[in-house]
Amino acid sequence: MSDKPKKLIEKGKRLDGRKVDELRPIKMEAGVLKRADGSCYMELGGNKVIAAVYGPRAVHPRHLQEATQVIIRYRYDMASFSVEDRKRPGPDRRSVEISKVSREAIEPSIIKEYFPRSTIDIFVEILQADAGTRTVGINAASVALADAGIPMRGLVSSCAVGKVDGQIVLDLTGEEDNYGEADMPIAMTQDGKITLLQMDGHLTKEEFALAIELAKQGCKAIYEVQRNALVAKYKGGSYV
């Protein structure tokens, strides 16, 4: 880890030139994999993430089935080369927790009663990581679900907000996350209900109120990108 820079925000500009309420550059494409029932690739700044959906499909063994609704499974995984120091392949405690909260963020948008005794599997692979991977994964997963034709109440959009150099900012970089005062990933449905909320660090109640308003804006912008990716799927498009 390099040393902390003196200032992360100077004259309203962040180290990468963004304003405090600005997202990093985004790239998103649906339908990038052939075998998966639905898929989506997303870049957000240095993050490169791919999501795939399989299902609904039958559950084995049978005693794991649920009689009245589909079971959602979600696996968040980081590629070994996605981070500075090689990560051992496979799940660790961090990815187990992220898989859980990501599933809980996505699940309310799925109409689960349509497919009893079945499962929908969501796989998110982080190819390159640069802070905010779980939010990128949730965005890509939501589009992949739509791409797979899963009946949904709407898309889920996600972004992180936080506190850096005393200011509330949108979409933290790795550096801002490491040296900032708070990090808060959020996800919400199209109609503004919160499905993911985590926070580490310190915020006053007033700062929290500001932060959550900023997150709303961020998620709205993300939602437009998600919509466009689904529209673009029917016109072709390129990824990476």
Partner: protein
């Protein structure tokens, strides 16, 4: 099958009570069950605490031993938090590696201590880049009747408060208390049928659509949050939870942590 029917009846019953502003055990929505904190029960541990919230019971032991620092924090001690959902605590706990709930629980307790700055990690450095104190927080859940999050977090900070650095054992001078800077307290709320209730019992947890844990610092600021469980919260609900949670955290801190 009959299990499902009983579950449905219980759900209806609690839902109907909630509409009338009532809870199964007669508590107010912002009322905790009885809390008991006992400390220094385990002589082998450097610190320990047993917390009961109603029938929920957790035992937290702190072990402290020297170790190598992480490469990216050569001058800081380390905190390692682990939660064991011991199979004696619930018919639904199985022996084996921690499942996702135990992992989440451990990570939220861990961040509640670490990210809140409760412990001054710089003071846990013995020799920069070579030797630091590793503080193991091990939570054993003994009886599970809901709200393990608050019980575990309270047990962790209570145990840390009476923990001693075992300097003598390693010929580093006299034993000394852990450098505690803050007393973060976790308060969990459940959403049931549109209503918000603190300290959900197991019956309430099973039917809650989602829960939100809010960790508050001594100075009243928010030191951590975790939504847990499928389900949604409105902005208003979140602001309301933060409001009552920070009040309740202050009460708990004064009553159980600042007296010891």
């Amino acid at each position: 099958m009959s299990d499902d029917i009983i579950a449905e009846i219980r759900r209806d019953y609690i839902y109907n009570l909630a509409k009338k502003g009532e809870r199964v055990d007669g508590r107010a929505f912002d009322e905790y069950r009885q809390i008991e904190v006992e400390t220094r029960l385990i002589d082998r541990a450097e610190g320990s605490a047993k917390v009961k919230i109603g029938n929920t019971q957790v035992l937290v032991g702190i072990k402290i031993q020297p170790g190598e620092p992480f490469p990216d924090t050569p001058d800081q001690g380390a905190i390692i938090t682990n939660v064991e959902l011991a199979p004696l605590a619930s018919p639904s706990f199985e022996p084996g590696p921690p499942d996702e709930s135990a992992t989440e629980l451990a990570r939220v307790v861990d961040r509640g201590v670490r990210e809140s700055g409760a412990i001054d990690l710089a003071k846990l450095c013995i020799e920069k880049g070579e030797n630091i104190w590793m503080v193991f927080i091990d939570v054993y859940v003994l009886d599970h009747d809901g709200n393990l999050m608050d019980a575990s977090a309270l047990g962790a900070i209570a145990a840390l408060l009476n923990a001693e650095l075992p300097n003598e054992r390693y010929e580093l001078g006299k034993d000394a208390p852990l450098p505690i800077d803050d007393l973060p307290v976790a308060v969990t709320a459940a959403e049931i049928n549109g209503e918000i209730m603190l300290d959900p019992s197991l019956d309430e947890e099973l039917i809650a659509s989602t829960q939100l844990t809010v960790i508050t610092s001594k100075d009243g600021s928010l030191a951590g949050m975790q939504k847990s469980g499928v389900g949604m919260l409105t902005f208003d609900q979140i602001h309301h939870i933060i409001d009552i949670a920070s009040k309740k955290a202050k009460e708990i801190r004064e009553k159980y942590l600042e007296t010891s």
